[in-house]
């Protein structure tokens, strides 16, 4: 067993983290979009642990019915329970289930990793909500499900009666945005809260994530054909709008909008812009003045020059080592290699490996000494 140690095992040596497994994922024909996101999620440790915990404690309820949640949990279990420390696993059941369930992912075409992540997280939420409802009606008791604490967003939810359920997926990924619109006539500020599981942000050439997030929250004027219906004025008015983060999520997922529809071309184009992302980040566009601090732990990278083809790989930080996952292959990389995925300062460059989805984890700074 020891003699068959992989290159990665040798590279890590006695620094190989106790109990950790580094497994590549087999590609079933253009499933790299799936593999890259799965690796990022697997190394989102709180998510992994809560998924496995939920799965083991709820097995009885879910019966034998297979869904994406059970498939994902099975896959993660399969990885964690491997005898070997490194190797390759075929996420066959998961991919089959995904294709069965959603026709978008059925073809062998190139898929968008962000779309997949979004679909997966929402699907998990749906499954959890369904199961919770089933449990509730079974037990005729509402105490088992957790509800949003008072005053968080109940007053703003636009009159929805449905009680939002906070699942462990929400606890990890969900944040709340406040969309503040100020009518320029009556000065009334209307605030609408929306929840998000990730932030999709516009990018600019030679900019930073910090700056892109700032732009995301910058004030925008609604006028001309884009006026705002003010409830107080009972008419369309010019208004100013800005998005602020009301509740920063535990896991901040930032999606860089690298695929842009270019009207003149009549098609999508990949923006290879150089957008630098630091290993540490603070959100400043928050409603409260608290500085939420984050640490980068995974990057899904799109490789290729166009939107309709290419490849996905991921960079993952595990126990202070950076790993490079390219389907079956897993390699150790230096932290400084992360910056080779920022993008290109010039439009036509041989470098086509660009950070596409960033995963930041909230850092709890010890008490304010």
């Amino acid at each position: 067993m020891g003699a068959a140690g992989s290159k990665l095992e040798k590279a890590l040596g006695d620094q190989f983290p106790e109990g950790e497994r580094y497994f590549g994922l087999e590609n079933f024909g253009n499933t790299c979009y799936c593999n890259s996101v799965l690796q990022a999620l697997y190394f989102c440790v709180p998510f992994r642990e809560q998924l496995l915990e939920y799965y083991s404690s709820n097995k009885s309820f879910t019966d034998a019915e297979e869904n994406l949640l059970t498939c994902l949990a099975d896959l993660f279990t399969q990885i964690t329970s491997q005898k070997k420390k490194t190797g390759v696993i075929a996420p066959k059941r998961f991919v089959q289930r995904l294709k069965k369930q959603n026709e978008i992912f059925r073809s062998y075409m190139h898929q968008d990793a962000h779309e997949f992540l979004n679909y997966l997280l929402n699907e998990l939420v749906d499954i959890l909500e369904k199961e919770s409802r089933a449990v509730k009606s079974d037990l005729e008791s509402s105490s088992s499900s957790e509800q949003i604490p008072n005053g968080l967003n109940t007053s703003h939810t636009n009159g929805h009666i449905k009680e939002p359920l906070v699942t462990w997926v929400h606890k990890n990924f969900q944040g709340i945005l406040t969309n503040e619109t100020r009518c320029l006539r009556c000065e009334t500020v209307t605030a609408r809260d929306e929840t998000f599981l990730d932030l999709s942000i516009d990018i600019e050439q030679n900019s930073s994530i910090t700056s892109c997030l700032k732009n995301f929250s910058s004030t925008e004027t609604l006028n001309a054909e884009d006026k705002f219906f003010c409830d107080k004025c009972c008419s369309l008015q010019e208004a100013q709008k800005r998005m602020k983060i009301k509740k920063p999520p535990q896991i901040l997922v930032i999606h860089l909008k690298r695929f842009k529809y270019i009207e003149q071309l009549g098609r999508y184009k990949k923006l290879s812009y150089r957008v630098v992302f630091p290993l540490e980040l603070k959100l400043t566009n928050t409603v409260e003045d608290t500085d939420a601090e984050y640490s980068l732990f995974a990057v899904v990278v799109h490789v290729g020059s166009g939107p309709n083809h290419g490849h996905y790989v991921s960079l993952v930080k595990s126990h202070n080592h950076w790993l490079f996952f390219d389907d079956e292959n897993v390699e150790m990389i230096d932290e400084s290699a992360v910056q080779t995925f920022f993008g290109s300062a010039q439009e036509y460059s041989s470098n086509t490996d660009h950070g596409y989805i960033l995963f930041y984890e909230r850092v709890d700074v010890g008490s304010a000494s």
């Binding site: 030679n206 900019s207 150089r274 932290e335 300062a345 010039q346 304010a368």
Partner: protein, 544 residues
């Protein structure tokens, strides 16, 4: 072909005429202006320096270009009279890479005046080559060439290039190739005694000290007469990130590495030694180990976990500022090897640092897109410059600039400084200490709470000697806005240097632009005759 794509071409710089070496690099993209305005007048693009375009590809992503400014004095290489130039006589040197002597050595009167003595001999012949094939052969070695002049030393890929600052030639006059590893950092000391005035640090960790004049006199493409330290990385094989001469240090220099260690060398000592230092016990703990024998390096300072990104000495050489991956600025007393003060960035690594000429302030720039102003007196950040839309890669005080109405009576000192970033922009700032106001503190949610009150109090609290401050909160630090925001290159920038006559900007890919200061009297000088006339004159582009 460049101007054709630019309909409103102002012919960025006439010095580029007939020189298409950098055509492939996409410089002079439309939208890049050839001037920028400041309250004291217009800065105009004077000329550019670059390198053969063929190298670009090789260099991509491998190393970032830094520039060192070197002023070679009027004196033959063999003269022994160099001891006369001990303290601050020549102000000639600043280094974008190491930024030691960041403030111009305190004496403003002297420096890059006049053309270079030696430029005539070479300028005629260097233009021959195109696309990097033949230009190096065209350089005629001239052993009588005394080398006097001001030079730009910059690294691109596996080569060091030397350009004559005062010549209009875009091409370098000399290239030195390093076959084994890429040069990353360099520093120059105009007062070096035995001729070895130029330091070069490589990606492999290797360090060379050489004579710049000797390189200029030699016709080859190899480094000549170099002293080799840390050979093949035998002492430390991590990247050499920053290198600096100790001001007035009698040939002492320091080399910072990507593994968080910094080594002290003495030029006079044997370079071939292989002193082994004890293993660093705690990566997070500062420690200094001295070599047991009198060999180079004589000491190792373990500064921090992760890379050291930049080091800078105060003008008098008493203090060294060090910034790195962990986001901390640390200031040490160099002689006593004691940590004096320091603090954390808002977030992310710090990438560059520099001192004010009077040693009162340190500027740092980093991955939080902010320019930080650190006060040595208060031992804390006194201002944040907000204006870059990407990481800040270079900072420098303009020691040649003086406040318009500085009559010397007022206490209100104004500092001018500049910063460059990966957003391809140059920003200029005025730091007026009287104008800094700590923003109003509003407690979140509108009601004053105990927790925020105590947090702020903590920040205001005097910091004991040798303690590092935590990252301040956004609301606790006064903000500065830039005076000028100017996009200068198409590529991310890596450094800037102020000289008496100009501002130099350099991008990561190795293109340098030299921006001439507004001409004398162009400002609001009401009693100056020439001032009014110049001010009215419409300026179209730059005329040679």
């Amino acid at each position: 072909m460049i101007s054709a794509s630019n309909p409103n071409s102002m012919m960025s710089s006439s010095s580029t005429t007939g020189n298409n070496n950098a055509a492939g690099s996409g410089q002079q993209a439309p939208g890049l202006k050839t001037y920028f305005k400041t309250p004291e007048g217009r800065y105009k693009l004077k000329y550019e320096k670059s390198h053969p375009a063929g190298l670009l590809h090789y260099a991509h992503g491998k190393s970032v270009t830094q520039v060192t400014l070197a002023h070679l004095k009027d004196k033959p290489a063999h003269a022994l009279s160099s001891s006369s130039s001990s303290i601050g006589i020549s102000s000639g040197v600043k280094s974008a890479a190491a930024k030691f002597l960041g403030g111009g050595n305190g004496s403003r009167a002297l420096s890059f005046v006049g053309g270079n003595g030696g430029s005539k001999s070479s300028s005629g012949t260097t233009k021959v080559g195109s696309l990097g094939s033949s230009y190096t052969n065209s350089y005629t070695p001239n052993s009588n060439f005394d080398g006097k002049g001001t030079y730009l030393i910059f690294n691109v890929g596996d080569a060091i290039f030397i350009s004559d600052l005062n010549s209009q030639d875009k091409d370098p006059i000399k290239s030195i190739n390093f076959s084994t590893s890429n040069p990353i950092s360099h520093a120059f000391d105009p007062d070096a005694k035995d001729g070895h005035d130029l330091l070069i640090g490589l990606n492999s960790g290797d360090v060379y000290s050489v004579s710049l004049r000797q390189q200029l006199q030699d016709g080859g493409k190899k480094l000549v007469g170099g002293q080799h330290y840390n050979k093949d990385g035998c002492v430390n094989n991590s990247r050499c990130t920053s290198i600096a001469w100790v001001p007035n240090g009698d040939g002492t220099f320091v080399v910072a590495h990507a593994d968080g260690n910094m080594y002290v060398y003495e030029k006079s000592k044997d370079g071939s030694g292989d002193p082994s230092f004890p293993v660093v016990k705690d990566q997070n703990q500062f420690s200094v180990s001295h070599a047991r024998y009198s060999k180079n390096p004589i000491a190792r300072w373990h500064i921090c976990q992760g890379s050291i990104n930049s080091i800078a000495f105060s003008n008098d050489g008493a203090y060294i500022a060090i910034v790195g991956r962990d986001g901390y600025l640390r200031v040490f007393d160099f002689k006593t090897e004691q940590l004096i003060c320091g603090g954390k960035s808002y977030y992310g690594a710090l990438l560059c640092c520099t001192w004010s000429m009077d040693g009162k302030y340190i500027l740092t720039g980093g991955e939080d897109d902010l320019v930080q102003v650190w006060s040595m007196e208060e031992r804390k950040i006194v201002a944040w410059g907000e204006g870059h839309s990407s990481w800040v890669s270079g900072v420098a005080f303009d020691s040649y600039w003086s406040a318009p109405n500085a009559d010397g009576t007022g206490e209100n000192v104004v500092y001018r400084f500049g910063s460059v970033g990966q957003d391809t922009q140059l920003l200029l700032w005025d730091l007026e200490m009287d104008e800094l106001v700590v923003p109003m503190r509003r407690a979140p949610g509108g009601s004053p709470t105990m927790s925020t009150g105590s947090q702020s109090a903590h920040w205001d609290h005097a910091c004991p000697l040798g303690a590092l401050r935590p990252a301040p909160s956004m609301r606790d630090v006064p903000k500065l806005s830039p005076l000028v925001v100017h996009r200068v290159h198409t590529d991310p920038l890596s450094g800037l240097i102020f000289t008496q006559e100009s501002v130099l900007t350099v991008c990561r890919e190795g293109h340098i632009k030299i921006w001439a200061r507004p001409s004398e009297g162009q400002t609001t000088g009401s009693d100056s005759l020439s001032g009014t006339s110049l001010k009215e004159k419409p300026k179209v582009g730059y005329r040679q």
